[in-house]
């Protein structure tokens, strides 16, 4: 490194270089797409009021890339429990001002340049009408606020959330108000840039505090916590090793999903009750959002539930790895934890659903829907839908457990990489089907063969995993048979429910195709493979 600035930048960027490369490739490809496609294709829309479909799709990718850049420049690699700054950077012979300024300037420049490139090279050529200057300045300001909040050495992690939520909401609100005030794009951008400059002083103070080892605390909270701790009864003995392990898993991970749901419900509660109270349709939209939330959050949590706890690394602590519990029983404890977590999250969702009934007219709308469908039918449908979503929440958490149970960061990163590529490919395919209906027909025709092939691969992988588990003595033959029986029971039950639902909803789905599709999506290898993954982690 030729200069401290270069070294500081390298420290922030080097760990993420492959993701930067992937983002860069995406931005280049996204700029080529509008040049290659015809104007008619670029003008395609899902409905009359929505923006051009291709432009939306490309813009979503650009937003993802910019979001990644933002996260990189916020969390340098330190522990958020104290300060997100690199510990080693705090003892470097550079001033606090420079230590704060380098990532702030680099981050702001990267985001502003990334935004301008996305607008000029991707979004506008794809037919989107997007402002250029003020969002670039707003992004830089948003990042600066996030950096200050992350760098402040706070004694309690939750204080950061308490500080971050109102500050970030205020930043977004201020940017939107300025943009809507009719000041003009240049002036709005100038005011937001001045806001960014104003963040330099608190950023420098945050770094200086962190360097001195000072922490910002709330002593009253500490006294309260100590008083509460004294009131808490002594820990009681567990009934069995499984109960002890389940307790540990719950304390390490189980609470995350319910707490995330509770936080979202609290944040959205006011919106549920106040937003455009005349529109009954909005109530139904909120309901859909509430029902989808646990599944979406569970899918993001799943791949981290195999770690010791949510903030630890992937490798298992030797002290925990040396507990006399089999890998199969350990995984079983994790699966029960996922079930308990999903159940707790859904209790909160159902409680929040009651909030919606306080929206004017929504209760009547629900009753009307029940009357139209018939009370028995609608109750059965609601139960099936909620039951299905609860199971889906559990599946989202449980089926990705194997990723972090391997204890290898490269597996987790590789999985995330493949997932991103998969999502991008699926979106590209979806856009392609809109553009080329013939291709869709060909795929539909080939679908039975494709499903058959995937089922064969699935059966082969399952057989290999079961054989390995039996050969290593991690499960007995009876356990293997039980696993297969449970999977078959789940398949048959979901097939019967699926057939009934399809009939109720008037969907024309062939019974065989439904069975094959369900056999493909109901996890087996991913759950059984979690035992092998943990074994690989514990016995390296």
């Amino acid at each position: 490194m030729r200069s401290p600035v270069q070294a500081l930048l390298w420290q922030v960027v080097a760990r993420h270089r492959w993701w930067f490369a992937l983002g860069g490739v995406y931005l280049v490809v996204a700029a080529i797409v509008p040049q290659v496609l015809s104007p008619q294709t670029l003008a395609l829309r899902v409905n009359d009021i929505s923006p051009p479909a291709v432009g939306q799709y490309l813009a979503a990718g650009c937003a993802g890339v910019l979001l990644h850049w933002m996260l990189v420049f916020v969390a340098g690699g330190g522990e958020l429990e104290r300060s997100a700054l690199f510990k080693r950077s705090l003892v470097l012979p550079v001033t606090s001002q420079r230590l704060a300024l380098v990532p702030m300037l680099a981050g702001a420049a990267a985001l502003a340049a990334g935004w301008c490139y996305s607008v000029l090279a991707v979004m506008r050529p794809a037919g989107l009408t997007v402002p250029l200057a003020w969002p670039a300045a707003a992004l830089a300001l948003f990042l600066a606020v996030l950096q200050v909040v992350s760098w402040l050495p706070l004694a309690r992690p939750w204080l950061r959330i308490v500080l971050a939520v109102p500050l970030l909401c205020l930043t977004v609100a201020a940017a939107l108000l300025l943009a809507l005030s009719g000041l003009g794009e240049g002036l709005t951008a100038g005011i937001l840039a001045a806001g960014w400059l104003a963040m330099l002083w608190p950023a420098e103070r945050a770094v200086a505090l962190a360097r001195r080892g000072d922490t910002i605390d709330w002593p009253g909270w500490q006294r309260l916590a100590e008083r509460v701790a004294r009131l808490r009864p002594r820990a009681r003995p567990f009934r069995s090793p499984d109960a002890a392990q389940l307790w540990l898993e719950w304390r390490a991970h189980g609470w995350l999903l319910p707490v995330a749901i509770a936080a979202l419900v609290v944040m959205m509660g006011g919106l549920f009750l106040l937003a455009d109270r005349e529109k009954i349709e909005l109530g139904w939209r909120f309901l859909h959002l509430l029902l989808v939330m646990p599944v979406l959050i569970a899918s993001t949590l799943g791949a981290n539930l195999g770690k010791q706890d949510f903030s630890s690394g992937y490798e298992l602590s030797p002290l925990l790895a040396a507990r006399p519990i089999s890998s199969a029983r350990w995984v079983a404890a994790k699966l029960w934890m996922c079930a308990a977590s999903a159940a707790a999250a859904w209790l909160l969702v159902l409680a929040a659903t009651l909030l919606l009934l306080f929206r004017p007219g929504f209760q009547q709308s629900v009753l009307q829907a029940i009357e139209t469908a018939g009370p028995v039918r609608s109750t059965a449908l609601a139960l099936a839908a909620v039951g299905g979503l609860i199971v889906l929440t559990w599946v989202q958490m449980a089926s990705s457990l194997w990723v972090s149970l391997t204890g290898r960061a490269w597996v987790a990163n590789g999985f995330a990489f493949v997932l991103v590529i998969g999502i991008l490919s699926a979106c590209t395919l979806a856009v392609a089907f809109v553009l080329y209906p013939d291709a869709k027909q060909s795929l539909v025709a080939a679908l039975p063969w494709l499903i058959g092939l995937l089922l064969a691969v699935k059966a082969l992988v399952a057989a290999v995993i079961l054989r390995e588990l039996l050969a290593r003595g991690r499960i007995r033959a009876a356990d293997a048979l039980r696993l297969i029986a449970v999977w078959l029971a789940a398949l048959v039950a979901s097939w019967l429910i699926g057939q009934r639902l399809a009939a109720e909803l008037g969907l024309a789905v062939a019974s065989g195709q439904l069975l094959a599709g369900l056999a493909l999506v109901i996890p087996f290898s991913r759950l059984a493979g979690a035992i092998l993954a943990l074994d690989w982690n514990r016995h390296r």
Binding site: R234, A235, R236, L248, A252, L320, P324, R472, G473, H539
Partner: protein
């Protein structure tokens, strides 16, 4: 020979080799840990002590060679082996959010032989607040909490991996006390790795030294110490004494030369007399001195 040495060893390693990429962490290590002894593992940082211990616990799988603990293969039968082993590692890397009483309740569930009274006795002796979270404890207090968790079920084999590294003398005393207490129970064994050699010498009956993954020596401490002596030799010739097999690091002080010998005195006296030299004095060495002499020899061999 003590009775323990005639029984089946509690832990046995044969021709164990382990590589991490290009680095050989263990090279054909073979040793047997007799039942009912304190077995000290010594060696510099990176010598392979932790790697060896992790193989004994089944946390690492033998690439070549074999490992048996309590008559079983740890990787094949982890539950059976781990339920008989108490383990305390250098990094007390337990979750920080767990309280002391929760940790003990959690650990208790896994061991039918857990002794509540003993655990409580140790907790009071170590002055640990049951409601304190581990992250609020000092490193020494965390080590004490880990020690209770490793001792309270009176394991057949207690494995301590650098337990006193970075700790103050009072915590080190507690750890040594725990070793003595464990061994006071009939038939229990302690494997204790450290680079604090005076500690190892104070409590160990057997010792093994690892150097860059290779076993330098292993056996009863008395035998090892009997093998090494510091010699003072009268050397009349002007030139340096010749390199003799089993003699390490000649040093001059006038006409008297000193060296560490690890061969029989009689044989050495005959060889030295051929050069006109005479052994004036010989005295036993501490483990620390043996370690330094061996390290110097390894460095010399590497240079050669």
């Amino acid at each position: 020979m003590p009775p323990a040495f005639r029984e089946e060893p509690v832990a046995e390693v044969r021709d164990l080799t382990r590589r991490f990429g290009d680095k050989t962490a263990l090279a054909e290590v073979s040793l047997a840990v007799p039942r009912g002894v304190v077995y000290g593992l010594v060696g510099a940082n990176g010598a392979g002590k932790t790697t060896l211990i992790r193989h004994l616990l089944g946390l690492l799988k033998a690439q070549t060679g074999a490992v048996r603990v309590c008559g079983r293969v740890p990787v094949r039968e982890p539950v059976e082996v781990l339920s008989r082993v108490g383990y305390l590692s250098e990094e007390i890397d337990l979750p920080g959010w767990i309280r002391v009483d929760e940790l003990l309740a959690y650990m208790r569930a896994f061991y039918p032989t857990w002794d509540d009274a003993y655990a409580e006795d140790l907790r009071q002796q170590f002055e640990l607040d049951p409601s304190a979270k581990l992250k609020a404890l000092s490193k020494g207090q965390r080590a004490r909490a880990g020690l209770i968790a490793a001792l309270a079920y009176r394991p057949e084999l207690l494995v301590l991996d650098e337990p006193s590294s970075g700790l103050d003398p009072i915590v080190r005393r507690d750890i040594l006390g725990a070793i003595v207490r464990t061994i006071a129970d009939e038939g229990r064994t302690v494997i204790f790795s450290s680079h604090l050699l005076d500690e190892v010498e104070r409590v160990s009956e057997c010792v093994a030294m690892l150097k860059e993954g290779r076993l330098v020596f292993a056996g009863p401490l008395d035998d090892v110490k009997a093998r090494y002596r510091r010699l003072t030799v009268r050397w009349e010739a002007t030139e340096r004494p010749p390199a003799l097999a089993g003699v390490l690091g000649w040093r001059a002080s006038g006409r008297e030369w000193t060296a560490v010998a690890c061969t029989s005195t009689e044989e050495l006296a005959i060889r030295l007399s051929a050069y006109g030299a005479e052994i004036l004095e010989q005295r036993p060495l501490s483990l620390d001195e043996i370690f330094l002499a061996q390290s110097a020899r390894e460095a010399q061999s590497a240079e050669a």
